[in-house]
């Protein structure tokens, strides 16, 4: 199933050449036909059909009029449960919607389904989903990447023109890379996190997974900007994000990150990335190698900060307010423990325990505070690099999609798949993964990284690079 560019679909709906109801049916049919890939947890069928009727009747005829989309199941959405692929949230019906969803709906977009993820977005493969593992559409013996694996697979399979994901340590870009789609991680705070299940609040961002950079730019433009319900939000660029500026590749300076081009990269990935670098040079870009010596520390920083924040954010799942509960427990303490024991999968427990350890009295300075300070060192190195280049470039991941089960018995190996994505979560700057050829038939992702709030330029640059790579 293929879809036209999102902007074109919306214009046709506005003109009456396409009906929102037909687009929603096309999307629901594609979801039903591709059930075997297990990208979807649930559809919002009834809600979507009602919304389509309203759009066809003249409501919300905006820039996304009638465009179906799929939300990762950690977005609060009307018309379906929000589980974050966890047992503890099974049966949870959101009483309100996330700001991102509200903004998309206001412009006429229609959520048709909720996509699978690693439970609470903890993982790189969807294997940590408490329900099932999503299969990579390019090779069903392999993972789609994660945690937004269901969203990335949905876009490749054409279940909808775009999907939403969240990226805390690489969870949009890694599956985009493994599935061969565009995955955009905006500047921290550019899209409101209100109504999205929290993972690590200091690095969580929301972004689109799409067929093209232009689609990603339009969706970002609709979702972004300050929100009173999320105090960490920042203003959007006054000129917005829709692609309207020409990126001059001939006068651009691109830095190839030395630390991301070292050993440990799959030869096929290296080959594709080097081919892309050559194509950019041929197009007239000035390409230089740039070193950020502290980047290899980013993963260690992340795996202190992230579990610490996870342990705090997941403390709300206590069996008292919503989600799984044990009314027959003998006392309050047992009602907490039973809900959490049964409701959390192994990875959630693992992160809660590490987080509890690094935040505990006597260890806080050695772990959490130290990690926050090394974070500053990494941020400073990015700032220094951006003094001499417009954007940084490297692979999104050192490997292509791995086999289902390959890393599931070794949590540390699984964490290492994020090695090239976490740094942008720590720096707060935007980064994008775009398709960059294949290695042994599996997609390779090229990552472009920019300074904080340079989303507008990064999107223009990414669209130009996308054009050059063809």
């Amino acid at each position: 199933m293929t879809w036209e560019p999102i902007a074109d679909i919306a214009v046709k709906v506005q003109k009456g050449e396409l009906k929102a109801a037909d687009l929603v049916e096309k999307s629901l049919a594609a979801i039903a036909e591709n059930e075997s890939f297990k990208a979807i947890i649930t559809t919002t069928e009834k809600w979507a059909r009602e919304r389509a009727q309203a759009v066809d009747g003249g409501d919300n005829q905006g820039r996304l009029a009638g465009v179906p989309f799929i939300a990762k199941d950690n977005f609060l959405v009307f018309g379906a449960e929000t589980t974050a692929a966890s047992n503890i949230l099974k049966g949870f019906n959101a009483p309100y919607q996330s700001t991102a969803i509200e903004r998309l709906e206001t412009e006429g977009a229609i959520c048709v389904a909720k996509a699978n993820l690693d439970a609470f977005a903890h993982g790189s493969s969807t294997e940590n989903s408490d329900f099932f593992t999503t299969l990579n559409p390019h090779d069903t013996t392999r993972v789609p990447g994660g945690s937004s694996g269901g969203s990335a697979a949905s876009v490749v399979l054409g279940l909808a023109p775009f999907a939403l994901g969240t990226d805390t340590g690489g969870s949009i870009r890694l599956p985009a890379s493994f599935c061969g789609v565009v995955g955009y991680k905006p500047t921290y705070g550019l899209v409101s996190r209100s109504g999205v299940v929290a993972m690590a609040s200091s690095t969580d961002v929301i972004g689109p997974l799409t067929n093209s950079v232009a689609d990603a730019a339009l969706v970002l433009d609709v979702m972004s900007g300050k929100d009173a319900l999320d105090a960490t939000t920042v203003d959007k660029d006054v000129s917005g994000y829709v692609l309207d500026l020409e990126f001059d590749i001939r006068n651009s300076k691109i830095g190839v990150i030395k630390e991301y081009m070292g050993d440990g990269m799959q030869p096929g990935v290296r080959e594709q990335v080097e081919k892309a670098i050559k194509a950019l040079k041929d197009a007239g870009a000035e390409v230089q190698e740039v070193s950020l010596p502290s980047l290899p520390l980013a993963l260690a920083v992340y795996y202190i900060l992230c579990p610490a924040e996870v342990s705090s954010n997941l403390s709300r799942y206590d069996g008292q307010r919503y989600g799984l509960s044990y009314p027959d427990a003998k006392d309050l303490d047992e009602s907490y423990t039973q809900a959490r024991e049964t409701g959390f999968g192994k990875e959630a427990k693992r992160r809660i325990m590490i987080g509890t350890y690094v935040l505990s009295s006597g260890y806080y300075d050695a772990y959490y505070r130290k990690a926050q300070t090394v974070r500053t060192k990494i941020i400073d190195e990015f700032a220094a690099a951006f003094e001499s280049v417009d954007f940084l470039l490297g692979p999104t991941a050192p490997m292509t999609a791995f086999k289902i089960g390959e890393h599931s018995n070794d949590p540390l190996q699984m964490y290492l798949t994020d090695i090239m994505t976490v740094a942008s979560n720590l720096s707060g700057g935007p980064a994008v993964s775009i398709p960059c050829g294949t290695a042994d038939g599996l997609p390779v992702g090229l990552q472009l990284i920019a300074p904080q709030k340079a989303d507008r330029v990064l999107l223009a640059a990414a669209a130009t690079v996308e054009g050059i790579l063809g």
Binding site: G91, F92, N93, P95, Y96, T187, Y188, G189, S202, T203, A228, T232, V234, S294, L297, A300, V301, I304, S311, D318, Q320, R321, Y322, S325, P327, D331, L332, D333, Y336, T337, Q338, R340, E341, F344, K346, K349, R350, I352, M353, I354, T356, Y357, V358, S360, R369, K370, A371, Q372, T373, V374, R375, T376, K377, I379, D380, P411, L412, Y415, G428, Q452
Partner: protein, 97 residues
Amino acid sequence: MAQLTREDVLKLASLARISLSDEEVDEFSEELSAILQYVEQLSSVDVSGLAPTNQVTGLTNVMREDEVIDYGYAPLDLLKNAPAVQDNQLKVKRMIG
């Protein structure tokens, strides 16, 4: 070098209100030790003169007007997922013996 014993793991589990099977305790003491050993590479990093980053985009004290905003939700709408409700409030087990 952090090497978590069974007792350490049980203490953490109790702090986090998670109960673990015997098998999980063994598994976690091994896995968590490996993860902690990996992150301990930070201990030798020189960070003299650097301050910790607490808010990455530099925001401080984001204020709003101190006024009631009506989002249109009735209390019971927001409590509809609660396991037990009484008088528009969450009902929990006795806290003080």
